[in-house]
């Protein structure tokens, strides 16, 4: 059973646009929801994370929206830039070991 479902698999956005990536989870015991950014040939880098006591967290151009009742959370990248082109992974964690989504390949066209 896939504990976290990530969509879309790939995303193409124009420079300056908004990129939105979604994740849905099943187990309500999860209480830590990070997003990672990975460039080719590199390890994932923590981008932003949220805990279920808040519904939104913003850091610069990156925002996590969290819907506890729907068991969904999403990453919004405002003013997307070509340098944001990478693979993005959501993850869910808690007392359980973190489980990663399958990833979203984002391409931002100049």
């Amino acid at each position: 059973q896939q504990q976290v479902k990530q969509s879309p698999q790939s995303l193409i956005v124009q420079k300056g646009g908004i990129s939105i990536i979604n994740c849905a989870y099943e187990n309500t015991a999860f209480d830590y929801f990070p997003w990672y950014q990975q460039f080719p040939g590199k390890g994932p880098a923590l981008l932003i994370a949220i805990r279920p006591d808040v519904s939104e967290k913003k850091e610069g151009r990156f925002t996590i929206s969290f819907n506890k009742s729907a068991k969904q959370f999403s990453l919004h990248i405002m003013d997307s830039q070509p340098g944001d082109s990478a693979t993005y992974f959501c993850a869910v964690g808690g007392s359980y070991i973190p489980t990663f989504g399958r990833g979203t390949s984002l391409i931002v066209h100049p």
Binding site: Q6, D31, Y32, Y36, P44, L46, A49, S95, I97
Partner: protein
């Protein structure tokens, strides 16, 4: 401060051989986790160690083993390599175990089994 370091960067092995991968965590981090990332997939959890004790094990066969040393560095061993073991092996360190804390990943070791 140095981030998580892993060695070697790349490795080519033949089926049936054994391999050892190494990881040094961020200074002050006592927890190390190992992940396998197949091309086009998210990282899959293999092991987590904290204070030299195994704290979690993913759904991997017994051919996979790991240990953590007193200086908190760690090794991942894989015996009887199969073609399907070809992947990027990632090490991540964190202050605490479990899945509630920020993990910092190393660059990974690219293992190719022929």
């Amino acid at each position: 401060d140095a981030g998580v370091t892993q060695s070697p960067t790349h490795l080519i092995k033949t089926r049936g051989q054994q391999v050892t991968l190494r990881c040094s965590p961020i200074s002050g981090h006592k927890s190390v986790s190992w992940y396998q990332q197949v091309l086009g997939q998210g990282p899959q959890f293999i092991f987590q160690y904290y204070e030299k004790e195994e704290r979690g094990r993913g759904n991997f066969p017994d051919r996979f083993s790991a240990r953590q040393f007193p200086n908190y560095s760690s090794e991942l061993n894989v015996n009887a390599l199969l073609l399907g073991d070809s992947a990027l092996y990632l090490c991540a360190s964190s202050l605490q175990p479990s899945g509630r804390y920020e993990q910092y990943f190393g660059p990974g070791t690219r293992l190719t089994v022929t």
